[in-house]
């Protein structure tokens, strides 16, 4: 994700807002018509899941295919006081907590995360805007971390809370967040990545830890992950749509 897209989406949202205020309303500005269009998301998700199930792997590439320049998108630098302090101290005290509907809530330091079994994969990142970049990611499969925490039977989603402030009052901003269901969260290529192209993840690419979920579009790949919450539904979380961009009109299912 990147500033480009941030700016673009901010402009898009402003444009949409201005339009909604104008007297002449097209079907896109009504409340009911987008709901009709949105009904296709359910069908798309069901059919794609029917084909993809829980096991099909996203294509993996060779080192020769790696993009010479990988566009950084989303928040290039979260820039909050806490985050700047974490950068200064080389993320020594960065913790990733796992809570919510789990039997054993955990807190992992980066060293502990790196000590877990790891997976490396050279995969393609597809931004919702249309461009793609290929990079190599190394991280801990999320499935193993969830296994340590032991999700309760009623847990259906993993919600990822991030350190990058997106919008709203600067003193109390809306932070980026995302969610996956357990099928996508336990997919073999879903990892909490800490290395990119063989080096520690840089700040523009989501340091110190970001999500990779290779069968989904870029906005699902949450950066600067701090906290995981297992939940039965995301109705009560922020805008209730399961993610920052989802609360801004994008579909929760990001398989196409």
């Amino acid at each position: 994700m990147g500033t480009d897209r941030r700016n673009f989406l901010a402009r898009a949202a402003a444009g949409a807002g201005a339009l909604a205020l104008s007297a002449c309303k097209g079907p896109s500005e009504t409340t009911w018509f987008p709901k009709v269009l949105d009904s296709a998301e359910v069908l798309t998700k069901k059919v794609q899941r029917l084909f993809a199930g829980s096991t099909t792997l996203a294509p993996e590439f060779t080192k020769a295919d790696i993009s010479p320049f990988f566009k950084a998108n989303g928040t290039l630098n979260p820039g909050t006081t806490d985050y700047n302090a974490a950068v200064a101290n080389n993320f020594q005290d960065w913790k990733i907590s796992v809570g919510g509907l789990v039997e054993h809530p955990l807190k992992l330091s980066l060293a502990e995360l790196r000590a877990l079994p790891s997976r490396s994969q050279i995969t393609r990142h597809d931004c919702v805007e249309g461009w793609s970049c290929i990079g190599e990611w190394t991280g801990a499969p999320l499935k193993n971390i969830l296994a340590l925490a032991v999700p309760r039977a009623n847990a259906r989603y993993v919600v990822f809370y991030c350190a990058d402030p997106m919008s709203g009052d600067p003193t109390d901003p809306q932070y980026y967040y995302e969610s996956l269901d357990l099928i996508e969260a336990c997919h073999p290529q879903t990892i909490l990545a800490y290395d990119m192209n063989g080096e520690a993840l840089s700040v523009p690419h989501g340091a110190p830890v970001r999500l990779r979920c290779e069968r989904q579009l870029g906005y699902k790949h949450a950066n600067n992950v701090q906290r995981l919450e297992l939940a039965e539904s995301f109705d009560h979380i922020n805008g209730g749509n399961g993610g920052y961009w989802e609360d801004n009109g994008y579909t929760w299912w990001a398989g196409i």
């Binding site: 673009f8 989406l9 402009r11 898009a12 444009g15 949409a16 201005a18 339009l19 097209g26 896109s28 500005e29 987008p34 009709v36 269009l37 949105d38 009904s39 296709a40 998301e41 069908l43 798309t44 794609q48 084909f51 993809a52 099909t56 792997l57 996203a58 294509p59 590439f61 295919d65 993009s67 010479p68 320049f69 566009k71 393609r124 597809d126 931004c127 919702v128 805007e129 249309g130 461009w131 793609s132 970049c133 290929i134 290779e214 069968r215 989904q216 579009l217 961009w245 801004n248 009109g249 994008y250 579909t251 398989g255 196409i256």
Partner: protein, 309 residues
């Protein structure tokens, strides 16, 4: 007073003359229309299924094209290959400031740049020149709004695919495909003559007008059986989930970014087909053609038209 009277007299006599002429022309036109109608033959050309599927398809294509342009505008550049080589786009709609500080729209194809201000790269919306790939009158919705464009695109993608599938099943089952759409060897032998007839804008009459000519068959056949499947498959190749199911799609199209470029070319081929289709309808007699796609009935001019010129 007098001058006014005479002016009025002049006016009324010339009006009467014009009226006479008009009446004469109207009568002559009606006369010719009657002979034409009595000579022509009505023919049931399109079944109700074909007509319904045709209009649903037309609506889907318009919506998918315009919402596709909205999606394109989110990153108005195309690339060839597996990933985006940002320094070497195949096509890029961008903008720059000229020395006077005005925004210029630039279209870059390969390494060649064209000034396309007002159309591509920069165009005005609400009287304000702004940076945007395709102009807002061409996109759905009009303002820059990727999330909404995607909702339109993927909703109508389902209708387009289901409708197209029903058409193919119906066409084969009813033998419309074998009879009317599939170019036959005998058709191909007429190819040269058909091309010449088309260039001279001579449209078939009598029995021949009941069937699609070979150029029509080739056009319809390739749109339904080549362009349609190609745009659906390249659309699916852009889906990271579908790539995990059918990785060979990436191999066929040479990578996701190539698939996106081919998708774009297919969309403009549909536009090209649409334009030729409309021009042909107009040249062949728009009322007759449109009526035949609404009511099913098509009038055929007699084999040897009694015309003098």
């Amino acid at each position: 007073m007098t001058s006014q009277d005479s002016a009025a007299g002049l006016k009324s006599s010339s009006v009467a003359g014009i009226e006479d002429k008009a009446r004469g022309a109207w009568r002559g036109w009606q006369e010719r229309r009657r002979t034409r109608l009595s000579n022509r033959q009505m023919f049931y050309r399109h079944t109700v299924s074909v007509r319904v599927l045709h209009w649903i398809n037309a609506i889907c294509l318009a919506i998918m094209f315009m919402s596709g342009l909205q999606i394109f505008n989110a990153h108005p550049a195309l690339y060839w290959g597996r990933y985006s080589d940002f320094d070497h786009p195949a096509l890029w709609l961008t903008s720059e400031q000229d020395p006077q500080g005005h925004l210029r729209g630039i279209t870059q194809i390969g390494t060649t740049r064209f000034d396309t201000t007002g159309w591509l790269g920069a165009s005005s919306a609400d009287g304000q020149m702004a940076e945007r790939g395709f102009p807002s009158w061409a996109t759905l919705p009009g303002p820059q709004w990727l999330a909404m464009g995607r909702l339109w695109h993927f909703f109508f993608a389902w209708i387009f695919v289901i409708n197209g599938f029903l058409f193919v099943v119906y066409a084969i089952w009813s033998r419309h495909f074998q009879r009317d759409l599939l170019p036959k060897m005998s058709d191909l032998r007429h190819l040269g003559r058909d091309i010449v007839d088309h260039i001279r804008l001579r449209f078939p009459k009598g029995e021949a007008a009941k069937h699609y000519n070979v150029l029509q068959k080739i056009a319809y056949f390739s749109v339904v059986f080549i362009l349609g499947p190609l745009i659906v498959l390249t659309g699916l190749t852009m889906s990271p989930t579908m790539d995990s199911v059918f990785p060979f799609l990436l191999w066929i199209f040479g990578g996701r970014q190539s698939a996106r470029t081919i998708h774009f070319i297919c969309a403009f081929s549909f536009l090209g087909f649409f334009i030729i289709h409309i021009v042909m309808v107009i040249l062949a007699g728009p009322w007759n053609e449109i009526r035949s796609m609404i009511t099913g009935r098509y009038a055929i001019a007699p084999e040897e038209p009694p015309h003098g010129n």
